[in-house]
């Protein structure tokens, strides 16, 4: 099933987006009608009122984009307008306490570049070849055995401005601050799923506590939106974001630099800034989109492979149907000739030649459809968040199969219609 994940995600986003678009369209239509009702009452004709309402409302495309933006990023972060600086501090000889000091210096320096809005640090980027995680326990748990785990949560060590830089929305509470350090109580920001599963409420979790496997209590100070962490197709996973100052230093880390313009314009300034701090520090610089491209490469390939398989299936069914129809036409060519000679009409000829093929095709399609509906549990897993009984899906399948069948019977049908009784009789 893992292989199907990318496809599942592809279809899911497609469906969610089209569902959302349809709902937005309907809401917009309702709005315009209500506005037009009001304008009509003030004495305008219906047509004029509707025209005026549309003009007043303004740009449709912008409306849609802004609404999609408001509903949230599909990753739980926004890769647009973000550059990633990945440094290898360990390779440059930084160790122990030097690491966080250098990380803080880099953040401070990058923040001063004109055009940069915020800079955040994370030990491991989401959707980047696996993720760190830890068992967590509800605050009431006293026996911290793995069997008593409340949830397994993704774990990220971040700097205070990471959420701003990553474009992750804070839903309630506060973000982390530089004061959340080793001398202050342990705190975390968690995602909604974490709050729901571990704290018992997705909206009221702020200020509550949970426990780490070492027994330490951690207070939740904020809740952020859910995101994708290990794979795109995963179900909502709990995640916790811990202040890097309260965590052991990590040599491998990425800086997220968010700007208000195409971040590539800042590439030179960013790389000069890092070189000024330490000319011997190896680092890579790319946009978050480029990073995602390579992280998503395997799943793209799998999607492509599945697509090719599907195409081959379709080609196979076309040749099968074509072969069957062509065979039945050629076998009965003489009979058809006689029928034509006796004055059979075009549709009668077609029925005689292809009736059986089409009947078989219809039975096959119906059986396939029925099995598909019966297997809806399996399909629901593949077509996530879209019911396989969705009339759009079913209609699409039926239409596609019917078109393929039609295409495959087209040539044999033409041949049956062109039957010339004289020629057939002469052949004898």
């Amino acid at each position: 099933m893992k292989l199907l994940d990318p496809l599942r995600f592809r279809i899911a986003t497609l469906f969610r987006r089209s569902e959302m678009n349809a709902e937005m369209d309907e809401e917009l239509r309702s709005h315009l009608q209500h506005r037009a009702d009001d304008l009509e009452r003030s004495g305008l004709s219906r047509a004029e009122a509707e025209r005026r309402a549309r003009i007043e409302f303004g740009g449709y495309q912008r409306f849609k984009e802004e609404c999609h933006e408001a509903v949230g990023s599909r990753f739980g972060f926004e890769p647009r307008n973000a550059m990633l600086v990945e440094t290898a501090l360990g390779m440059a000889g930084y160790s122990g306490d030097q690491v966080p000091v250098m990380q803080k210096r880099m953040i401070d320096a990058l923040e001063t570049i004109p055009g940069v809005q915020s800079v955040g640090l994370v030990d491991r980027l989401p959707l980047y070849y696996g993720a760190n995680g830890s068992n967590v326990f509800s605050d009431q748990t006293t026996d911290l055995r793995p069997a008593n785990t409340t949830a397994h949560a993704m774990m990220y060590d971040i700097s205070p401005d990471y959420f701003d830089a990553a474009g992750t929305s804070l839903l309630t509470g506060r973000k982390l601050s530089w004061h959340d350090d080793k001398n202050s109580p342990r705190v975390a920001v968690v995602n909604r799923e974490f709050a729901r599963r571990v704290l018992g409420s997705a909206t009221d979790g702020v200020c509550r506590y949970y426990k780490m496997p070492d027994g330490s209590r951690v207070q939740v100070v904020g809740i952020v939106e859910d995101g994708k962490y290990a794979t795109l197709a995963e179900d909502p996973e709990p995640a916790m974001f811990l202040p890097m100052q309260q965590q052991p230093a990590s040599n491998e880390s990425a800086l997220v630099v968010r700007s208000d313009r195409d971040p590539r314009q800042l590439a030179e300034a960013i790389s000069n800034t890092v070189k000024d701090l330490d000319a011997g520090l190896p680092f890579t610089l790319r946009t978050w989109n480029q990073e995602l491209e390579s992280a998503l490469f395997p799943s793209r390939m799998a999607t492509l492979a599945l697509g090719v398989l599907g195409m081959m299936g379709a080609v196979l069914s076309i040749t099968g149907i074509f072969g069957m129809a062509a065979y039945s036409v050629s076998k009965r060519l003489r009979e058809l000739g006689i029928r034509v000679a006796l004055g059979a009409q075009r549709n009668e000829v077609l029925q005689a030649a292809l009736g059986r093929a089409i009947k078989l095709l219809a039975i096959g399609s119906a059986a396939g459809l029925l099995l598909g509906i019966l297997a809806s549990r399996v399909l629901a897993f593949i077509v996530y968040q879209a019911s396989p009984r969705d009339p759009q899906v079913l209609g699409g399948v039926v239409l596609a199969m019917a078109l393929l069948g039609l295409l495959a019977t087209w040539i044999p049908a033409r041949r049956a219609l062109k039957v010339d009784p004289m020629m057939l009789l002469r052949e004898e």
Partner: protein, 113 residues
């Protein structure tokens, strides 16, 4: 039109929450209600309302359901959730504090400084 004021950035959410707190409303109804409770002094762009609504739904402050409007048309109605009600209370307090502070700052006389 001349007496209408553009709303301050960030206050749209507060106005929406307040309008909806008086009873479930559809999008266009929210615009009318804001106009009505502000004595038609506040101007909100029609297109700007919906992203705000969607954001509030996503934050769990509003919930939406489809129903039939007073004009007998299908419409999506918004109402406050418990956390929306709480957020409205907090934001109202914040706003009052801010207004009091700015009013007193603007009213300060030279001899008081």
């Amino acid at each position: 039109m001349t007496d209408q004021a553009q709303i301050l950035p960030g206050t749209l959410d507060l106005l929406i929450l307040r309008a909806v707190s008086l009873g479930p409303l559809h999008g266009y109804g929210i615009l009318l209600r804001i106009g009505q409770i502000s004595g038609n002094a506040l101007l909100i762009e029609q297109g700007a309302l919906y992203p705000g609504l969607f954001r509030l739904v996503r934050q769990g402050l509003l919930k939406a359901s489809w129903g039939t409007s007073e004009n007998n048309r299908r419409a999506k109605f918004y109402e406050l959730t418990a956390s929306g009600r709480r957020r409205l209370r907090e934001e109202t307090d914040n706003w009052n504090r801010l207004v009091a502070a700015i009013t007193s700052a603007l009213a300060a006389q030279p001899e008081e400084v």
